[in-house]
């Protein structure tokens, strides 16, 4: 038998591993690096989620969701009702502005603009806009809205809408691209005009993917703090009027309570963090489930 072939314990013939030791060592180190990286990334995730769960779960009583914020911040009591409502109202108001604009804008980019100059410019600027720091959005809305109209939920919603708009445009355009052209052709062949085709054929076909993208954008917006700090003010009681008067939100509550030394206030911060993470996780997971179902339908 040659050097290259050996017999294993069970009697089979196998190629001998003749790789030089240093190469094998380097390969081993690389494997350790790759597996190690995964473990290193999992540790902080586990720690953060672990702390949020353990420290926050005790706060989630029925009172937590309905009662107003406590008058005495140092002591336990009250709930986060106004903040939870504030987060939901502000985020939904932002979505109400960003989703129609974003979907229509993506329709223009894909159905009409193609690779024309205007479309390319819009696409480029939308990409640029995804990189604008959220605090700059907050400063911008403060300058053009809050200074003249006062603190309100709507100001916060404006800032969040600016954050969501480019994300929705890009993900919607991706989804429109996935709709096969044959569907459009078939619609034209039946005599539909273009706008009819888009509204009754393309959009329904892309609906799942668009919803998924919108939910991811909403999840991102719900967690934002910096744009809200200057535009919504602070409030202890529920304020359902989004155009008038300050309000509060979960993210702002976490930020404020994180900077106090009091057990009760910090406990409220953890509880609010758990609530916020739960909202964001639910939205993200739903989005993934919807897009997985869409993908399965495509491949079927």
């Amino acid at each position: 038998m040659s050097e290259l072939i050996e017999r294993t314990a069970t009697g089979e013939l196998m190629l001998r591993d003749t790789t030089r030791r240093s190469r094998r060592v380097r390969n081993r180190l690389a494997s350790i690096w790759m597996v190690g990286s995964l473990l290193i990334a999992v540790i902080p995730l586990a720690l953060v989620i672990g702390y949020v769960l353990v420290k926050g779960i005790g706060q989630l009583t029925p009172d937590w969701f309905t009662k107003d914020l406590p008058a005495v911040t140092r002591k336990a009591g009250g709930g986060m009702g106004p903040a939870i409502m504030g987060t939901l109202l502000i985020t939904l108001a932002a979505a109400a502005m960003a989703v129609p604009l974003g979907v229509l804008g993506a329709i223009y980019l894909h159905e009409y603009g193609g690779s024309g100059r205007v479309a390319r410019l819009i696409r480029f600027m939308a990409d640029v806009m995804t990189g604008v720091p959220s605090i700059v959005m907050g400063l911008f809305v403060y300058t053009v809205w809050t200074l003249s109209h006062g603190l309100s939920a709507f100001g916060g919603a404006l800032a969040l809408a600016c954050l969501m708009l480019p994300i929705i445009i890009r993900t919607t355009e991706e989804m429109l691209r996935l709709v096969p052209d044959e569907l459009r052709q078939a619609s034209y062949a039946l005599g539909n005009r273009k706008w009819r085709t888009v509204v009754s054929v393309v959009l329904p076909a892309a609906f799942g993917g668009i919803t998924s993208g919108v939910m991811l954008a909403i999840a991102r917006a719900a967690g934002e703090t910096a744009p809200l700090v200057f535009t919504i003010g602070a409030a202890r009681k529920l304020n359902l009027d989004i155009f008038d008067g300050p309000t509060t939100a979960l993210s702002v509550q976490i930020f404020g309570n994180a900077q106090t030394p009091y057990e009760a206030a910090q406990a409220r911060a953890w509880g609010a963090a758990l609530t916020l993470v739960a909202i964001v996780f639910i939205l993200t997971i739903l989005a993934r489930v919807i897009s997985a179902r869409v993908a399965r339908r495509h491949n079927a």
Binding site: A71, V72, R74, A234, A235, K237, Q259, P261, A265
Partner: protein, 358 residues
């Protein structure tokens, strides 16, 4: 009717009559100079009073707001602890109805207000110098040493100047982390004014709501500084007594004008208040007060409101709120770790309520 029911009906009737009499008396005394607790008409007040400002008295105002809400159900009082600087600006801009501040409005800023305003002293308390140094449970600091620490001349805990103030104490060589306020603060104003008055050679910075502290970590509000000191070993910072006590911080004893090292206590604060000169507009300074038992960094705090308020319901609500703070509210002060006003100052403040027109 059964006899127990008959008794109940009589009881209710008697109480109703008493209530009517009380309301009638209360209605006429709300415009008298001395607001009497028992007969002040809180029940008929209504409106929303938005306040903002100093975090120094925040714990007291929160307790007072909760107490006031029980007897004046028609009024909602809000208080946002954003610092004295912001509080004064909010009142000047008209976005708040009352401001809480530990420092006076600068002359240059008076023009930004919409009209004349009044200072109402409410409570006073020590400003503690809290520190976090394991193994050192007692610390004496003379004003000069304290100034040098905050100015950055002294950088380690075992500096000879600190050792000189603390004979027999072993001090570690840890670096000092100085904790200050990041927002415009009346507490900063009073603390820096004390250092400027008691250690003018060592304190080379300009006193005020904001001070250009070198080499220091900043935090928001008294609570933020308390948290910073609590979580950072080797740190030292100025925090109001109420927040420092609630956080469980260790206080340094500060050398007062008479040369004694005094711990921050409500008794020390009252001793400092006793000798303070009250100005015509009811402002005063209790910093670096004389007296062996006086705590040298005692600060008072005020509520500022406009003298003339356009809406009469709002004006009554403000008068009611101020009256509560200066009468029943004063009994809530010690529980929240604040010193109530001396009787004469309290009476002058109550008398000043009548000046609010509207």
């Amino acid at each position: 009717m059964r006899s127990s029911n008959k008794h109940a009906v009589w009881l209710v009737a008697v109480l109703a009559v008493l209530g009517v009499i009380a309301a009638a008396c209360g209605g006429s005394s709300s415009s008298s100079d001395k607001g009497d607790d028992a007969t002040y008409d809180y029940v008929s007040l209504s409106g929303t009073l938005n306040g903002s400002g100093a975090t120094f008295p925040k714990a007291f105002y929160e307790d007072a707001i909760a107490g006031f809400a029980e007897i004046a159900r028609g009024v909602t009082v809000n208080y946002n602890g954003v610092g004295s600087g912001q509080g004064k600006k909010d009142l000047a801009a008209g976005t708040s109805d009352w401001a809480g501040t530990d420092s006076l409005v600068a002359d240059a800023d008076k023009a930004t207000f919409k009209g004349p305003f009044l200072y109402f002293p409410t409570v006073a308390a020590p400003i503690t110098v809290s520190y976090n140094l394991s193994g050192v449970s007692k610390l004496n600091l003379s004003p000069a040493t304290l100034a040098k620490i905050f100015v950055g001349t002294i950088t380690t805990w075992n500096d000879p100047a600190i050792a000189a103030d603390n004979a027999g104490v072993t001090l570690p060589s840890t670096a000092i982390t100085v904790a200050v306020r990041s927002d415009g603060s009346g507490t900063t104003s009073n603390f820096s004014k004390f250092l400027a008055a008691a250690a003018p050679d060592a304190f080379t910075l300009t006193a005020g709501d904001t001070v250009a502290w070198p080499k220091s970590q900043a935090a928001k509000g008294n609570a933020g500084v308390a948290q910073l000191v609590k979580s950072t070993s080797g740190s030292i910072g100025y925090v109001d007594y109420s927040d420092a006590k609630a956080t469980g911080l260790t206080f340094a004893s500060i050398g007062n004008k008479d040369g004694k090292f005094v711990q921050p206590t409500l008794e020390g604060a009252s001793a400092a208040l006793a000798g303070a000169t009250i100005n015509a507009d009811l402002t005063y300074s209790a910093l670096n007060a004389p007296g062996a038992a006086a705590y040298p960094i005692t600060a008072g705090t005020y509520i500022i409101v406009y003298t003339s308020i356009s809406n009469p319901t709002q004006a009554s609500a403000i008068r009611g709120w101020l009256n509560y703070v200066l009468t029943e509210g004063q009994t809530l002060a010690p529980e929240a770790d604040f010193a109530p006003l001396p009787t004469s100052l309290r009476d002058s403040a109550i008398a000043q309520i009548a000046k609010i027109t509207g």
